[in-house]
C-alpha cells in the first residue's frame, strides 16, 4: 500500500530539483542520475536478497539490521520468506571484469514488490565476500563492493560487515551511514563499549576507580574519560586498538571532568572544579602542556564543553544567570554569549550539550516540570525544539549522520540507553540493561579500530 504514494520514476539530467519537504534519493554516481521522487515520509524500498552460502547468513542478518536501523529504507520481506528464490539464475557480467559474481535480477518482479534497491551477498575468491547493490528502478547493478571477511569468531568480523552496510547505504543513497560505529557508556562506574546495533558489549575502562564521562576523539582511534582518584578527578586518554591508556598531564590534582576532544585531535577541553568554582580549561594532551583557562566564573560554574565541528567554537553550560543554561564562545574563551534561549524564571535547567557532527544543531537536555527532556537547538536560527516527552530523557549524543541520537531514558521503567531517529521519530532500545548512562557515540570507525581493546 505504501507504494501507492510512489511518484514517477524520472530521469534527471543536470541538477535535481529538490521538492521542499521531500527526500531526494537521487544516486550521485555519474553525470546522468536516476532519481525517484517521493512524497514526504515515504522511503525507498530495500530487499536484502537471500544468500546461497551458509557462511554468509550472519553477514546478511547483520547487514539487514544495519540497513533497517539506518531508518532510510522500507525493508521488504520477500513473500514466503527467504525460501523462495525470486532471482533469475546468476549470469556472469563480462562488463564488470568477469570475476564479478553479480546476478541479474527479475527487476520488474522486485519493482512490483515495491523495491527500489536490492542487495545481494555472494562469496568471492578466498575469504572475501561480494556485496552487490542493484538499482531496481534502473534495472541494473549500482555498485559492487568486495571485502575480505575475517572469520566469524574474529573480533573484527562484525565491524567489517557494518562497514559493508555503510557502503551499501552510500551506494544507494549517497549518504554516510552509522553502522560501523560504537557507543561508549557508563554502567556501575565503569566504561563499556557496544556496537550501535546492541551487539558486542565489552568493558573498556580497566581500573577499579569509578569512571564517568566518556568522549570520543574525531578519528575514532581514541577516547577519553574521567576517573575518581581519592576524590580528585583524573582524565585519561585511551587507544581503541591497543587498549593502552595514559593520564592527561596537568590533571589529577583537582576535580577534572567532562573531557571533549577538539576536532583536530590535539586539544582536550574539560571542566575543572576548584574552591573557586568550576571552569573550562584546555590542554594539549599529546605533549602534556599548555594548560589554558577559558572561563573565569568565581560566583558561577562553567562546564560540559563541546566543540563545533570546525573547531572554532565551544558550546558549554554556565550558571551565570542562576540556573545552568547553554552558552557558546570562541574556542579560545572569548566572546561568550547565550546559545539556547530561555525564559528567565520559567525555563528549567539545561545541561549536557553536544554539537552535531554536521554543525547545524546542538542537542541538550532541559528540566521540564521536574523531569528531563531532550532538546535540539538550531545553530543558525537559535530555535529550540523539544524532541522527547515520555519519561525522563537525558544526555543525548549524536551519531555521525547527525540524524540519529543515543540518550538515556527511563520510559521502559528503568534508566537505559535508547536510540532515536530525529527525522522519523523512530525509537529503539540500544540495550536491555538498567543503569546505563552517559553515552558517547563514536565517529565512523576506521578499519584498524577493529582489533579488540
Amino acid at each position: 500500500m505504501r507504494r501507492l504514494f510512489l511518484g514517477l520514476a524520472v530521469l534527471c539530467v543536470g541538477p535535481t530539483v529538490r521538492p521542499s519537504g521531500a527526500q531526494d534519493t537521487s544516486a550521485i554516481d555519474r553525470g546522468v542520475r536516476i532519481g525517484i521522487v517521493y512524497r514526504p515520509g515515504v522511503r525507498p524500498g530495500m530487499v536484502v536478497l537471500p544468500v546461497h552460502a551458509a557462511a554468509l547468513d550472519s553477514v546478511r542478518a547483520i547487514m539487514s539490521r544495519d540497513l533497517d536501523f539506518s531508518d532510510r529504507f522500507e525493508l521488504i520481506t520477500l513473500p514466503g520468506g527467504d525460501s523462495i528464490r525470486v532471482s533469475t539464475a546468476p549470469t556472469t557480467r563480462p562488463a564488470t571484469g568477469g570475476a564479478a559474481a553479480a546476478t541479474t535480477l527479475n527487476y520488474p518482479l522486485y519493482q512490483a514488490l515495491g523495491a527500489d534497491f536490492a542487495v545481494g551477498v555472494t562469496p568471492g575468491s578466498g575469504d572475501s565476500a561480494i556485496v552487490t547493490v542493484h538499482d531496481v528502478a534502473a534495472g541494473g547493478v549500482r555498485r559492487e563492493v568486495r571485502a575480505r571477511l575475517p572469520a566469524l569468531k574474529d573480533p573484527g568480523f562484525r565491524l567489517v560487515v557494518h562497514q559493508l552496510a555503510d557502503r551499501v547505504l552510500e551506494a544507494a543513497l549517497g549518504v554516510g551511514g552509522t553502522a560501523a560505529t560504537r557507543i561508549l557508556f557508563v554502567m556501575e562506574g565503569k566504561v563499556y563499549s557496544i556496537d550501535q546495533d546492541g551487539a558486542d558489549q565489552k568493558l573498556v575502562s580497566s581500573s577499579d576507580h569509578q569512571a564517568m564521562s566518556p568522549a570520543w576523539a574525531g578519528d575514532g582511534r581514541r577516547f577519553s574519560y574521567m576517573e575518581f582518584w581519592q576524590g580528585h578527578g583524573r582524565l585519561f586518554v585511551q587507544e581503541v586498538a591497543s587498549g593502552k591508556r595514559a593520564p592527561v598531564a596537568t590533571t589529577g590534582q583537582a576535580l577534572d571532568f567532562t573531557p571533549a576532544f577538539s576536532p583536530d585531535g590535539k586539544t582536550l577541553a574539560f571542566s575543572r572544579a576548584t574552591e573557586e568554582g568550576t571552569d573550562l580549561y584546555t590542554v594539549n594532551f599529546k605533549d602534556g602542556c599548555c594548560l589554558q583557562r577559558l572561563t573565569v566564573g568565581r560566583f558561577y560554574d562553567n562546564l560540559s564543553p563541546t566543540y563545533s565541528p570546525d573547531g572554532q567554537r565551544i558550546a558549554f553550560v554556565s550558571t551565570r544567570a542562576g540556573l545552568p543554561q547553554i552558552y557558546v564562545m570562541a574556542a579560545d574563551g572569548t566572546d561568550p554569549q547565550l546559545f539556547a534561549p530561555f525564559d528567565y524564571g520559567a525555563t528549567g535547567s539545561s545541561n549536557a550539550p553536544e554539537w552535531s557532527p554536521d554543525g547545524q544543531t546542538v542537542a541538550f537536555h532541559r528540566d521540564v516540570g521536574g523531569t528531563l527532556q531532550v532538546f535540539v537547538l538550531d545553530v543558525r536560527t537559535r530555535a529550540v525544539r523539544q524532541l522527547t516527552s515520555v519519561g525522563r530523557n537525558e544526555d543525548p549524543t549524536w551519531a555521525p549522520d547527525s540524524r540519529h541520537m543515543a540518550f538515556v531514558s527511563d520510559r521502559s521503567g528503568y534508566r537505559q540507553l535508547w536510540i532515536i531517529d530525529v527525522e522519523t521519530g523512530r525509537i529503539r532500545p540500544l540495550l536491555q540493561k538498567s543503569g546505563a548512562r552517559l553515552p558517547a557515540w563514536s565517529p565512523r570507525l576506521p578499519e584498524t579500530a577493529s582489533s579488540t581493546p
Binding site: 564517568m212 580528585h232 576535580l255 576548584t274 560554574d301 550558571t319 537536555h365 548512562r437
Partner: protein
C-alpha cells in the same frame, strides 16, 4: 590477729614451765620441752614470715593488677573520647535541592567541627559534597563541589586554617540512600567529613 593464738601458746608454755619449777627430777626433759617449744615457735615464725611474704606478694600482684586495670580503663576512656569526637566530626550537613547554601540548623553542626578542629591542631579533614539523582549527572559534580566548598568556607571564616581542609565532589555517584523519593534525596544532598590525618587521639573540645 593471727599472732594472738601464738602468744597464748607461748604464754601457756611459760606457765607450764613455772608450774613445774619445783620438781627437779622432772626438770631434765624440761629444757628439751622448752627447746621443742622454741623450735616449734621458730618454725611457726618461719612459716609465718613465709606466709607473710606470700601474702605481700599476693597483695603486690593485686595492686599491680589494679593498676593495670586502671590504665586500661583510662585508655578506654581516651578511646571513647576519640570515638565520640569522630562521630561528632562525621555528622553530615544537608542541602536543599540544587542549592549549596548552609542551612540555619546546620551552622551548629559546623560550629562543633570548628571546636573539634581547634582542640586538635594536628587534625586534617576532607569534605565531600554529594547530590541527589534528580539533577544532571555531570552538573552534579559542579554542584557537589559548591556544597563542599560552602562548608569549607564556613570553617575557614570561623578561624580554621584552610590548609587543613580538602574539598572534593562526588556528584550523585555515591548515594547514601538508594530510594527514589524525597526522603532518600534529602539524605543524599549532603556534605560528608572524613579524617585525612591526625585523627588517632582526638580531644574533646
Amino acid at each position: 590477729m593471727k599472732r594472738l593464738p601464738l602468744l597464748l601458746l607461748s604464754g601457756l608454755a611459760v606457765a607450764v614451765m613455772a608450774a613445774c619449777g619445783g620438781k627437779k627430777p622432772e626438770t631434765t626433759p624440761q629444757p628439751q620441752a622448752a627447746n621443742a617449744d622454741s623450735l616449734a615457735e621458730a618454725e611457726r615464725l618461719r612459716a609465718d614470715s613465709i606466709a607473710r611474704a606470700e601474702r605481700e606478694a599476693r597483695e603486690r600482684e593485686e595492686a599491680e593488677r589494679e593498676r593495670q586495670r586502671r590504665i586500661a580503663d583510662s585508655l578506654a576512656a581516651l578511646g571513647k573520647s576519640t570515638e565520640a569526637v569522630r562521630t561528632l566530626l562525621a555528622t553530615m550537613i544537608h542541602f536543599d535541592y540544587d542549592k549549596a547554601l548552609i542551612r540555619g540548623g546546620d551552622a551548629a553542626v559546623l560550629d562543633q567541627k570548628v571546636s573539634i578542629l581547634q582542640a586538635n591542631p594536628a587534625l586534617r579533614i576532607r569534605i565531600s559534597g554529594h547530590c541527589d539523582e534528580r539533577g544532571s549527572d555531570e552538573y552534579n559534580l559542579a554542584l557537589g563541589n559548591r556544597r563542599a566548598t560552602a562548608a569549607k568556607q564556613y570553617l575557614v571564616s570561623h578561624g580554621i586554617d584552610g590548609g587543613r581542609i580538602e574539598t572534593v565532589s562526588y556528584g550523585e555517584e555515591r548515594p547514601l540512600a538508594q530510594g527514589h523519593d524525597e526522603e532518600a534525596w534529602a539524605q543524599n544532598r549532603r556534605d560528608e567529613v572524613e579524617i585525612l590525618s591526625g585523627g588517632e587521639n582526638l580531644k574533646q573540645p
